[in-house]
């Protein structure tokens, strides 16, 4: 029986990857360092979505909103108030989580498709505010030149800053994933009715999961601002939300680390295929079709299956 806690065999590949990531800015041109940072932020965002989608079974179709709220909160706090940067950094994810709580509070009353529809409408409402409230958000133009402190405003500086917080968040997510709460959420994903019959308050669990997920999405939003020094309403648009959803499916939504892989694949496609054609989504679409037919559990799920069958 394999019920032991963390063992070193699982840990050392991750440590190796981490060391490589720390060394990369010395080895790679600045452009690649930047792309890696984009992947980190996107991976954190996709991972946060997967807390509710893959491990919670909720169709959180408009997750981008909380990413955008975190980013806007951070940018606005920095630009309009004199608060120190670290305070803005801490507060912004909580603002995203608060919005997540309000939207989630309404949505958990519904199930599956209705949950998704209500979330898209409430989320679009927030997008409309960011898009229309010109005095505050500068609408379509977005906010530019957000004053990020010097020590993290360079590409390398922001790279390390982002890497640090993404790793911290991932560790936090992993702890939650393995906790009784995480286990219970997976049970709710499989069978909500059975869960309430064993005494679990399903809606309260789902709402908690949404708040946690939106908090981490808020962190991703803040890190986006650290990297780009700007925000625009596209961050809250439903197209982005769909893209994050695809990352989870692509990487493997029943695995823990799958969405990281999904995010890396998507960002790499957008960057490197995007150079040749603006129709890079076409390739993403074809990939998605192949995925549904051949790897229904996602890339990571497929690799996991292979590893398990080799052990047997």
């Amino acid at each position: 029986m394999q019920r032991s806690s963390l063992n070193l065999n699982v840990l050392w590949p991750w440590a190796l990857i981490l060391v490589l990531l720390i060394l990369f800015p010395f080895l790679l041109p600045r452009f690649y360092t930047y792309i890696l940072a984009v992947i980190f932020v996107t991976a954190l965002l996709a991972m946060s979505l997967n807390i509710v989608v893959g491990h919670g079974g909720l169709f959180q179709f408009h997750h981008g909103v909380f990413y955008g709220v975190g980013a806007y909160a951070f940018a606005l706090l920095l630009m309009k108030t004199g608060l120190p940067m670290w305070l803005c950094f801490i507060v912004s994810p909580f603002i995203a989580a608060a919005v997540g709580f309000v939207i989630g509070w309404f949505c958990v009353r519904l199930t599956s498709l209705y949950f998704a529809m209500l979330q898209i409408s409430l989320g679009s409402l927030i997008w409309a505010i960011a898009f229309r409230w010109y005095d505050l958000t500068h609408g379509d133009d977005g906010l530019h030149g957000v004053p990020i402190p010097d020590w993290i405003s360079s590409t390398t500086g922001s790279y390390y800053f982002i890497l640090l917080f993404v790793v911290l968040c991932l560790i936090g997510m992993y702890i939650i994933h393995r906790s009784p709460f995480g286990t219970t959420m997976q049970a709710i994903r499989d069978n909500p009715a059975r869960c309430s019959a064993v005494g679990i308050n399903v809606k309260r669990h789902q709402l908690t999961a949404i708040v946690i997920a939106t908090f981490f999405a808020g962190v991703a939003g803040v890190l986006f601002v650290v990297l780009e020094h700007s925000v625009f309403p596209d961050l809250l648009f439903w197209v982005l939300s769909l893209e994050i959803f695809i990352m989870c499916l692509l990487g493997g939504w029943f695995t823990f680390a799958g969405p990281i892989l999904g995010a890396a694949i998507t960002v790499a496609l957008r960057t490197f295929v995007g150079i040749y054609t603006e129709y890079w989504t076409l390739i993403l679409g074809v990939l998605l079709i192949l995925l549904i037919f051949f790897l229904p559990e996602g890339v990571m799920g497929f690799i996991g299956d292979k590893l398990v069958s080799r052990k047997r």
Binding site: M1, Q2, R3, S4, S5, I175, I176, R178, S179, P180, F181, G182, T183, T184, Q186, A187, R189, D190, N191, A193, R194, C195, S196, A197, V198, G199, I200, N201, V202, H205, T208, I212, F254
Partner: protein, 248 residues
Amino acid sequence: MLYVERVFKSFDGFMAVNGAELRVEKGQLVAVIGPNGAGKTTLFNLITGQLKPDRGRVVFNDEDMSQLPTHEICRRGIARSFQIANIFHRLTVFRNVQVSVLSRQRKSRNLFRSAHLMAVEESDRILGSVGLRDKADRIAGSLSHGDQRILEIAIALGNEPRMLVLDEPTAGMSPDETAATMSLIKRLAETQGLTILFCEHDMDVVFNTAQSIMVMHYGKTIIQAKPEEVRGNKDVQEAYLGGEGEDA
């Protein structure tokens, strides 16, 4: 322990449960029988809160439970299994039971401890008591139908219930599996002093096992009595046993 007082439930004008009554005393093994569509499953859903009665009361340990949400009823000590195997099919067998044990221990909302080290002994003991220990690391969805039904009972046991409600525990099982399941249920009732309420199609099974039998027909209670009395009752023979020509 449990009194169901003249409960009614209709679906679009069809009276599925039409004033049914039921008494379960502590430590008893009680069976509900009745032809298909007699309202047995609906009655069970009313008891464990999946459905709310239109009228009537469900009283458990002197508390009216008819308006409580499902998870609250479970916390009062009633656990159940379902007619269709109702398990967490992507989780391992062990996890299936653990989720239920964690819920009873009120630890489901713990975010920061590792679940791998929690409720392990108890979950393991329950799996042992139903004979699924050697399959603990299998993914639940890959178990045979019979084993999934047993796992259902194990999940219910994880709640450490005072009363166990089993909706056709042997549905779809082979004769061998049925015999094994019924002896398991008997054993649970005897060794753990559990109060068990179940419904069943197989007449032999019911008359061999139950201490008290309630007969339902068209959503009504015809009689609730000891097996011998039920066997000799005219109304029962007419409504059920005679009508369908099943041996009793």
